[in-house]
Subunit: 121 residues, 2 copies
């Protein structure tokens, strides 16, 4: 029997919609080879448990990014189980730059709307 308890403070915000690809690209670009489960744990760590990447979002996203030629995948047997390691491609690096630029623009635009007084840069 399983009882799931909603962790206080864990994010349910819709704002993360659209940011998953950017997060994956950045982490894999920076760390090199990572596998799916590792990405979920790394994000949980970095955000102090605030953001939990769901498997139902993560894995289809990884498959799509591989299909797009932004990531490569290599299956490795570790402890008698399969892990799929993803690494960034040159096209993936370009995509990372673009996605991070988009994120910057998004942040700047939200600042302009939410805090117009600080937006004279």
């Amino acid at each position: 029997m399983y009882i799931y308890i909603r962790i206080l403070g864990m994010s349910t915000s819709q704002l993360y919609r659209g940011s998953l690809t950017t997060i994956i690209l950045k982490l894999v670009e920076e760390n090199g080879e990572m596998y799916g489960y590792e990405i979920t744990q790394r994000v949980k760590e970095l955000t102090q448990g605030d953001l939990e990447i769901k498997e139902g979002a993560l894995y289809p996203s990884l498959h799509k990014m591989e299909a797009a030629g932004h990531l490569t995948v290599t299956a490795k047997k570790v402890d008698n189980r399969i892990r799929k390691y993803y690494d960034i491609t040159p096209a993936g690096k370009e995509e990372t730059v673009n996605r991070l630029a988009e994120l910057d623009e998004f942040l700047a635009n939200m600042q302009r709307i939410i805090n117009p007084k600080l937006s004279f840069e």
Copy 2:
């Protein structure tokens, strides 16, 4: 005959998904009574044309926020045409505070992931 030309630099990013409610709440809370079309123009101004709120997203969103009790609506005839002015309710002000807090958390979490070196605050 209509020819639509894609404006260079206009955002097509998925990052804005989930931010519309926050944007509307903040603008109406700050400016007082606003009507839909006015909101699209204000956002366009503030972001220098970068972000165009689509009518297909805006109007259903306004209706939903009214149904939720976060906004009130008053129809007024201006220049022989109907405008629907939306204003914030007390519940809407609470929601605004919550949404802005969520936005802050989102920004902080993205910083922690994208730029971990700057995240020791």
